[in-house]
């Protein structure tokens, strides 16, 4: 289980302290798929950064009883001067996973061919995204974090990603953050609404949507 206890996050801005999250509580059990909906700037990405552990809360605590992924298909950790394979090797070392075991999968899935031996800075945006998605699938986690579903590559590759994540790993927990209710409806069993720094949780996605609609006005 993942549990957020009374999380507050305050950023220091030029106009003084700005509280993005104010006493947020959340529980995500193993295998459960939770959506978090909120408007732009409501703190969705901040929440993802705190759950992933990239940033620390100002107060409160994040407890992770199951393994939690980095944000799906995140490419910001790539070292552009290293090859795709060297970046993979680094990820494997960090997570204590055998490099030789996952190379075939990454080669097959990313469809990058010999480009895997080229520095990442020579990749196009689409190639980076494919590598990033392949790396996300190369390391196994109990819970995947998704900060907006980005469409990777063409429709065929998109379908491949969908199958890999939502079918082959349908037993995993998921925290999906989006401003789009349809995405959340398609993948989540329950949903929470992030509004004015507070997180309102609902057992049914429809109820969350009703609340979200009302909060817009």
């Amino acid at each position: 289980m993942i549990q957020l206890d009374n999380i507050t996050k305050t950023y220091h801005t030029r106009h003084g302290p700005h509280t993005v999250l104010d006493g947020v509580n959340l529980q995500v059990c193993k295998g459960v798929k939770v959506g978090i909906i909120g408007r732009n700037g409501s703190g969705k990405s901040t929440l993802i950064r705190l759950i992933s552990g990239a940033e620390r809360p100002t107060s409160g605590r994040v407890w992770r009883g199951i393994s939690v992924s980095w944000p799906l298909a995140f490419s910001g950790a790539f070292q552009a001067y290293l090859t795709g394979l060297d970046n993979l090797r680094f990820i494997c070392r960090i997570y204590g996973v055998s490099f030789t075991n996952v190379v075939p999968f990454v080669q097959e899935f990313s469809e990058l061919g010999s480009y895997l031996r080229e520095p990442v800075r020579h990749y196009s945006g689409g190639m980076r995204a494919r590598l990033a998605f392949a790396l996300s699938m190369a390391i196994e986690f109990d819970c995947f974090l998704i900060d907006e579903i980005i469409v990777v590559g063409d429709s065929r590759f998109h379908e491949k990603c969908r199958r890999e994540l939502f079918e082959k790993r349908k037993d995993r927990a998921l925290i999906l953050v989006s401003h789009d209710i349809n995405t959340i409806k398609a993948h989540c069993e329950s949903a929470s609404v992030l509004h004015d720094g507070k997180l309102h949780s609902f057992a049914r996605v429809d109820d969350a949507y009703t609340f979200y609609q009302a909060s817009l006005h």
């Binding site: 950064r49 940033e55 939690v68 944000p71 910001g76 290293l82």
Partner: protein
């Protein structure tokens, strides 16, 4: 329910992360082409060689009968140690921000990896040069290897502590980066690399002996030259200074890690 990761497990993860960062840093900085990772110590070696040549030409030992090559190699190697460590930790976080999404990578690990690499580079450079000059007959073997070793270890410790303080301060404000460069410039001639404390007037001795690295360099040279030099150092002072700087550095790095705002 808040069962924590055991200490042994934490150590294991941290070693794994630091190892991964080390390899990443080596390949990124030196690549696999031409000399590759040999640059790690070839670069500081070239620095030391140039300085040695310059000091030999300028007869910097001020009329004392100390062998100038050994004087330059011991002196400049110790400068490289603390200066390179600190320089590599300056603004070390921004380019590695994305790595923090891999939860086990912490700001402290970024610093440790860079510090270890610089210490390794400076140490290999020192050993290779000393061996090379000794084989040519331009340098004698050290009089007291334990003295050399402990002086070097203290200097490495000092370098690591200094680097963590300077590196963490640059995470708070870019002003720290701008200030560090002139400060390191001023510290170089004061650091004990270009003089023996004994050569200085006694009121000036007291002043330079406030700088911890001066004690380290004196210890190192005392070990190298033995009774040929009169050294001035206080192990207790150096130890306490390094310890306090390490505590301050760790506290600053921890706090910088809590404040870091990933884009």
């Amino acid at each position: 329910m808040y069962n924590e990761t055991s200490f042994a497990r934490s150590v294991q993860i941290q070693l794994r992360v630091i190892g991964a960062l080390l390899m990443r840093e080596i390949i990124t900085r030196y690549g696999r082409d031409n000399l590759g990772f040999l640059w790690l110590f070839v670069e500081p070696m070239l620095f030391t060689l140039f300085i040695t040549a310059l000091w030999t030409a300028a007869k910097i030992t001020h009329g004392s009968n100390l062998p100038i090559v050994a004087f330059a190699v011991t002196g400049y190697s110790s400068v490289l140690l603390w200066r390179n460590c600190a320089n590599r930790c300056v603004m070390a976080i921004p380019p590695n921000m994305g790595l923090l999404y891999h939860r086990n990578v912490r700001v402290l690990d970024l610093f440790i990896a860079r510090i270890l690499l610089e210490i390794a580079g400076a140490t290999i450079s020192f050993v290779v040069l000393a061996t090379f000059f000794t084989s040519l007959g331009w340098m004698e073997l050290p009089a007291d290897i334990v003295g050399v070793l402990s002086g070097w270890l203290f200097l490495a410790w000092f370098a690591a502590a200094l680097a963590s303080i300077v590196g963490a301060l640059t995470a708070y404000t870019e002003v720290a980066e701008r200030l560090w460069h002139p400060i390191s410039y001023i510290l170089f001639p004061l650091s004990g690399a270009v003089f023996m404390v004994d050569w200085l007037p006694s009121n000036f001795q007291k002043f330079v002996l406030l700088l911890p690295m001066v004690h380290g360099v004196e210890m190192l040279r005392g070990g190298y030259f033995g009774s040929a030099v009169r050294t001035h150092f206080d192990i207790g002072y150096l130890f306490v200074a390094c310890l306090l700087m390490t505590l301050l550095g760790l506290a600053l790095v921890k706090d910088a890690g809590l404040r870091v705002e990933v884009e």
